[in-house]
Structures are given as C-alpha cells and as structure tokens.
Subunit: 589 residues, 2 copies
Amino acid sequence: MYRTVTCGELRIADVGKTVTLAGWVQRIRKMGGLTFIDLRDRYGLTQLAFNNDKLALAEGLGREFVLQVTGQVIERQSKNTQLPTGEIEIDVQSVNILNPALTPPFTIEDESDGGDDLRMKYRYLDLRRPIVRKNLELRHKMAFETRRYLDEQGFLEVETPVLVNSTPEGARDFVVPSRMNPGTFYALPQSPQTLKQLLMVSGFDRYFQIVKCFRDEDLRADRQPEFTQIDCEMSFIEQEDILNMFEGMIKHLFKTILNIDIPQLPRMTWADAMKYYGSDKPDTRFGMTFVELQDLFHAAEDKKAEEDKFSVFANANYIGGICAKGCATYTRKQLDALTDYVKRSQIGAKGMVYARVEEGGNVKSSVDKFYTQDVLQELKQAMNAEEGDLILILSGDDAMKTRKQLSELRLEMGRQLGLRDPKKFSCLWVIDFPMYEWSDEENRLMAMHHPFTSPKPEDIPLLDTDPASVRANAYDCVINGCEVGGGSIRIHEAGLQQKIFEILGFTPEQAQTKFGFLMNAFKYGAPPHGGLAYGLDRLVSIFAGLDSIRDCIAFPKNNQGKDVMLGAPSIIDQIQLDELQIDIRPQAK
Amino acid sequence: MYRTVTCGELRIADVGKTVTLAGWVQRIRKMGGLTFIDLRDRYGLTQLAFNNDKLALAEGLGREFVLQVTGQVIERQSKNTQLPTGEIEIDVQSVNILNPALTPPFTIEDESDGGDDLRMKYRYLDLRRPIVRKNLELRHKMAFETRRYLDEQGFLEVETPVLVNSTPEGARDFVVPSRMNPGTFYALPQSPQTLKQLLMVSGFDRYFQIVKCFRDEDLRADRQPEFTQIDCEMSFIEQEDILNMFEGMIKHLFKTILNIDIPQLPRMTWADAMKYYGSDKPDTRFGMTFVELQDLFHAAEDKKAEEDKFSVFANANYIGGICAKGCATYTRKQLDALTDYVKRSQIGAKGMVYARVEEGGNVKSSVDKFYTQDVLQELKQAMNAEEGDLILILSGDDAMKTRKQLSELRLEMGRQLGLRDPKKFSCLWVIDFPMYEWSDEENRLMAMHHPFTSPKPEDIPLLDTDPASVRANAYDCVINGCEVGGGSIRIHEAGLQQKIFEILGFTPEQAQTKFGFLMNAFKYGAPPHGGLAYGLDRLVSIFAGLDSIRDCIAFPKNNQGKDVMLGAPSIIDQIQLDELQIDIRPQAK
C-alpha cells in the first residue's frame, strides 16, 4: 500500500497522527512563506501544508501530479465547513512524486471548461471530475441493490450469449462475421427476449440479468448503440404479480439509494394517459391535465351563422386545453414564443389559442372576435380556471396527433414553471396498452410490444371482430415522464399464438421461419410467463437528476457511434478480412 | 399467481392444508386403482395422488405436461426419505392443464439418455435436468457473493464497452462492421485490460466487473468464443495487497458457497512450480513431486566404460522421477500402458524408465542391465521411496519439455490413484513469473503476461544484461491444477515502459501505434496500479466438481463455435450486407 489513509477520511479526531496519503494534485496555492496543495482521490480532498523548510518540496509540482505524501495531521487555522476533511490539514514531512503529469487540456472541476468533444477524447480525465465519477458510483450502487432485491426474491441471474443469431423482426442488428463458418454471421442481441422465454420453458421460474443489448440504429440524441437492461422474467404469474414484484424493486431502489419512500405506484390505463396527458409516458410531477373542449366549442359554433364561424375549431375533430395556473401575466412576446414552440416542425401544430382569466373573472382570449364572453366563461368553467390563470388550446383533425402536440406544450409549460424538478420523483404504471398499432408504411397492424404479448383475456373475442381495439397485458413503468421499464405477459398457448400471427399478417410458414425455434420449444411444455426490462442507463440518469444517459456511462459513444478516445470503429488489417473471407466495398469519395 | 406453494416446500407439518401447485409432470405411475404423478418445478418434486373418482383427472396426461393442481396435503403411506417433500403427497381435487407437451427427445433426469448433440439442440429441455440447473444456480450464487465481497471492499463495478477497437496484439478479435462508418469495424474486447487501466488513471481506485470477453480462436476442448471474467484492478497498491485482497475473495467464496474454510494460500515461485511439478499450474491436491536425478545418474555413468553406458540417461540434460506410493504391484501391462501414455504425440516422451522397490528393499528396474543395485539404492534414497513404491523416470535434452512430460505422467498417476478428488480443493498462488518467454516463431522475446507488466524492482538491473532472467510482478491463482485467475502489477513509469518495449523489439513508433492511447493517458498522471482477472466459467466448474466449463454456461457453443439451438451463426439478408457495404467472398465448394 502506498498510503495509510485515503484523502477523504481524516477528521479533527485524527490530529497528531502521522499519515501517508496518495493522490492527485487538485490545486496549488502559494501564499508567501506557505504553500497549500489540495490532494484528491476517489474518497475526497485533503489539504497539504508546506511550511518553512518543507516549502521546497512543493516546488516543481503541477496540477494532476500523482504524489505520495507523509506528514502529521494538524488542525487548520481557517476551517472549511464544506469539506468533510475541512477541519484538518497535513503538515507535510516528505513528498514522493509517483508520476508527473502534463497539464490537462481542461480543468478537472465539477464545472469544467472543456467542451463535449474534448472531454470525450480525454474521457479518462473527464472521469476524474467528482460529478462524473459520482454518477458511476451511483450506477454501481443501483446495480448492486437491484441484484440484492432480485436475489432475495428468488431470481437467478443467468448469463445469455452475446453471439446469437440475427432476427429479421425489430431494429437493425449488429452482426459479427464468423471465421470458422465463412459466409455466416452472429448477431449481437437486441435483448435476450427469446432466450429468457426459453429459460422459462426450462423451468427457471424467476430469471434476471443485468445485460448489454445492442441496436444498430441511427442515433437520436441520447441513444447509445450499446445499452444496459435489467432484464427479468417470471413463470406461473399474472400481470398483477409482475407489477407488485417490480413496484417492490423500484421502491427498494428509491429507499436504499436515495432514502425516499415512494408511495404505491398509481396505475393509469394507456387510454387515460393519452386522454389526459397526450403521452404513454406522462410526467406526473405536475397536473395541467388535458380538458377536451370540442363539444363546448362545436355547440357554440352550431349556434352561429356560417360566416361568423371560427373555422379552425368548427372543423377540428379534437380541441384540447390546459390550464397554466397564475400565468395570465404572460406577455404577448411569451405567448408568441409558445406559439412558435408548438409550430416547430418537430411538434407540428398549426397554431395556438390562448385565453387569460383577468382580475374580476373576465376572460380575454386570442379568439375574442369569434366567441361571446358567455362561451369564454363556459371555457373557464370547463378548464376549472381561476383569476390569473392562462388557458392554452390546440386543435386538429387527428386527436392522437393533436394530443401529442398538446403534450409537448404541457411539458414546456411545466419546464417554464419549474414543475419538473429533477429532485422530485413521480412514478406510475401505464397499463392496458393496445395490442396493435397501425403501420402506414407496412399497411398492416403491427405488434405494439412484440408478437408474443398476450391480449387481455376479456378482449380475446375482439380478436375476430375488431383486433385494433384489443388491449394487451402489457405495462410500462414511468418515472418523471420517462419510460424506464416495460414488459408483458407472454402468450403460452399455441392456438392463441397462431391467431395473433394471422392478425399480424404472417402465414404459418413465415411465422415458423421467423420464430420457429421458440414456437418449437413451446411445444414441449411452456408455463404461463411474463416479464419486463428496465433500462439501467435511463434509471440511473433519473436517480442522478440528469437529462442525458451519457454521463451515467463510463465510456459512451457519440452520435456517430464513435468512441473518439479509443478510435473505434477503425480500419482493420487485410489479414483479418482475409480470415473472415469478406471484402469492403469501395467507398464513394 | 398460479400456485400457492412450490413443489419443494411442503412438509409433514403442512398436512391438512389445501394447496395449489404448478409444474411439469416428471413421472406417472399407475397402480391399479391409483395413479401417482411427480410434479416438478425449480424448487423440487411433489407427489400427486389421484384416488377413486379423481382417477380420470390423470387420464391423457403425459411427461412434461404443465399442470396446475389443487388438492389437500396428506401423509404418505410409504415415505421417501431421499426427498425433502417425501413425507407428504397431494390428494388431488382438480387439475388444470396449462400446456400439453410433446414427448421430449430424451429423458429429463440427472442421468439422461440424450447424447451431447441432441441435448445441445434442445438445450431448453436439457436445462430442465436438475443437475444442469444446479450448476447455473451455483453460478448465480458465486457471482452474487463475488460482488458482495468486492462491494464490501470498496470496489466499484464499472461497465466497459463491448464495441471497442481492434488491437493487433494478443489473440484474434471478433469484429463488427460499422454501418454508420462504412469500411471500419468495432472489435469485441478480449478483456477490458486497457479500459480498466484507464479507470485507474481516472482515479477509480478499486474497479471490478463481471464481464463477457471474446476470443476468435480455434476452439480447443473446453474453450468458448465468449467467456466471463471477474476483472479487477486497484491503485496505490503493491503485489502483496493484491494477493491478500483476492485470497480473501477466494476464501469468501469457499466459505459462503461450500462452507469450506480454506487455509492461507501457499505461495510457490514459478521456478519451483516448474521444478517440482513441471507446470505453472500445479495440482497440489497430491504430492508426488519431481526429484531431479541427472547428477545421480551422470555420476554413475561417469564410472562406467563407454560401451556399458545407458546412452539415454548419459546424454540427457534432465532426468526426473516421481514416486508412486504403493504402486510396486503395477503389472507389466499397466506399465506399458503408462509408457504408451507418455509417448502419445500430445505428450511426446521417447520412453519411460521404472523401478519397483520390492519386499526387503531390493530395487528392480527396467534398466537393471545398466545399473548396479548400489546405484538403484541411491535412486531409492533420492526418491525417498519405500518398500512397495514405484519410481517412474523420464529424461530428455530439454529440461522444460521433459518436465512438462513428467507433469502429464504425474497427473495421470494422480488420476489412477484417485488423488484428484473433485470434492477436495487445493489453492495456491504461483508468483514470480518470468517477464519474457522466447518465441521461436517470432524470433524475439515475448511478454509472458502482457507488455504492461512490471518487472520485480530487484530485477530491473537485469533488463540491460540478461532480460530473459527478469522476473515479473505477475501471479496466478491456481486451484486443483487449473489456473483460475492471474494478473500483474502494471508499469506506471514512462521510462521503464519505454525500455520494456525496446526489449520486446518495438520501435518507439510501433509502440505508439499499438499502445498509443494508453501511453498518452499515462502522461496525465497514472497511479501505481495492478490487478487480476478470474475466469468465472472455470471457477464455477471447479466449485461444481465438473471437468468441463460447458455445463456451467446456460447456452454454450460447440467446438465449431455454433449454437445449434439458435442456429447461430447464420446467413444474413442481402439488405444487411448492402447496408454494411461488405461482400462475402465466394466459398470454395
């Protein structure tokens, strides 16, 4: 050992002891006949004092030098109450330079002066910043507590292979050419979905795995080509059992990691989530729920002559409003900015209607010329608005699209009003997802979750008559507007599975080609089973109060899928291509 | 929940309770007016009794059907003391067939009638066999206890990326073509070696990870293309600290998993391991250590006339013997078989000399015509042999090669004598490995561990004068003749690293190309550090008393690197090749 104590542990009670510390030079301050150095390691900072004849020992030292220092613990003259070690310092007796350091390209402080690209290139220096390291310490603790909880509940962690087979369904696979079997490829798993279902067929009963998964997708902001799932599956259970088990896990994590007691998770149907929040992952840290206004406005329009009608509302299938408490003071400029916000191409609203509830209760709106004060008072009542509130309204032909636009407006208002505090947590289950969603691209119903998801038993008769209305035994766990986990009860009956495939438009032959080995396994006695998967990266980022998952990952990739520190991906040797018997096509310049 | 109890938990105290169980039909026995079914789940077996009017409920059921059964717990007439639930049975009241099953292609018993290939194809059925499932339960427990120990010691588990860059040193990489960066490839990590060293540069201080690693090697028996390491690294430590920390981990695992108290691990130098066992991973469950006999026999030869010499020994640089206690009774046939064994091409000895110590102390050898009884008595004394013992001797020009041959003979004798009991454990550290080994192929010294391994400080002067004799701060953890872990103290000084590269024959430019990003990182303040990695697959197989690692892996690959259940690797779609902009070369038929 190069040290007797770490840089985080000395306290006033240690005064008088002779100790040896090792760490990095964080800061050097020269004050006349005295030099102070802050020595940093993972555990904290300790101040070193170089006095009198020891002053020369501090000469030539620079930021990030690695030192081994021996000295006596003494009480500080001016104490630092912000620092756990702030009451003491080390009266340095000897210094051993374990390694010198070049001046780092950016400051190693919580607030660094390095840009994203520079910090990624020198990620090993970026990781020295306590704020980044703390995220990874949190990640370790969360993974550990997840394992502890699941172990206590009788789950077995089983490692499934990374070199699997390519499946044509789902996202794009990363593939690995096989040298021993030329012309063939392994694929990296998008998730261990089929393998965990096989483990249920094997009788493993309760399985989990904290596991890397891979998707070769064009990277939107905050997606990574490799990501980590807490992947779980149980047998002989119903949806209720899964929800209770994993509600327990989330509570365990909040309690052990943040010491927060989370109340029982509310359950919201997918239909209600869409109706009241316009999102299947509602941010329930604040209200501002949607009120549907089409009946109110259509009734008003019906009473008007054709030339007096407000065609935007008169022709809208859906009109929805939110009420922003106390925002009647919003200026015209602020409201124009909100209108511009919802008209951005990513959101796509045509416009926004607003109404202020003024002092005395009068309503002043951007559509005053179309509606009487009576109608506007009805609006006020419908919105449950009071003096000083601001009502914001979007409308459109397509209820689903308009709700999504209104959801974006709601989230933006929540942000502006400080209602989305990253230190406040609101968790819920969204349940009863639809089995299918229509794909314009494929011109068929697509499985919303995946083709093995079980319909709700009471909706099974609808499979024949109205499959689009069938609800699934599928559920998402949502925290602060993020889907942190999701899963479903799986189909375990061959007949029902066959019918689902038919509805998805697969012939029996196609179903066999795509999902044959799982279907075959099911013939040998599959138990009723279901499960879910949490995204560990996302879960950690929420616990850390971060917007991005990137700072919860030790060595993340950038939006081009590159690790600029490692220089990956890179060109490989011709001999490697020859062994794999593949060729790279000539690249267009 | 489909059950109120599992198939493993009912005891005599539960008699009278009405319970619901779910599981698989293990066995059906019809005995006149009575049918018994053993119902199986992960937790055990419970006997179901179908009586009187319930007899019909058992009709049509078959092996591996999945049942939900309700009934009353009753005391058994004939108890089975082998089974934890053997005192009770279920008086069945109702049966719900959750899923029928085809007859499995082999019996789901600890002793199955299925061959390897068949069981691999239906691995999900093979995994139903309790003997296989228990190995994976053991693996879960060992991984969990490993994490518990390391967490308690302040280690952080940090996930390193799976998509990294290809490194030309070491084994062959699996590579992954990048679609977003055509013409370039990721590589799958052979180990997180450089990344964990970067984490030390980052100040993580104590890192570990239970992590998949990948090597595209031709698969010898009991190698897998993907395998799991317990990968660890520490900063500000010396070799002694690492040995103590991980000796603690091994003791913790033996204690918590097998309830065995392992004594302090002996330390053996690599030189002694080679001298006394002919192996850097000696099986120390038994003695039978080597005795060097060249001085004894050369002295005897020196006294003889040229024509009387035994040229095999006279010309051998190395002559080594082992003493097999009590084996003087070995027949000529047994001894011939041993000779054949060491002459196999995999071992390559030219022949074997033996000597029996007969009743009364006389020595009778296969080389009696060359040596006097006096010489043979000297041999007996040197070998510390007694009446009834058998001495086996190999000789050769090359001491190292001959020792390896003698090691194989020793292991075979240990096996024949039952000295290699898989339920007995003998652990040790092998230390002081050489820094280099000579490569005839490359005609240069090669790093025995890897090029970042630190030499022993006292041997640094030898780097200039006799590099081949320099010992490394490298160590292996050996259990029962298997290297289960190994590591080293790393070089953290740029100047020493430069010298090591020179000795390995790298120009500064080559060193920069191969190891540049790690070398650059070291310029910014690298702490003294070191670590090691355990092979989890091997460690589990030793704890399970298995010869092969394959049965400790849920879904292993065969010797052609194939997963015959998944059908991986497989042909991929042309569209995937087009997206990746690669082509497969036409295959020779």
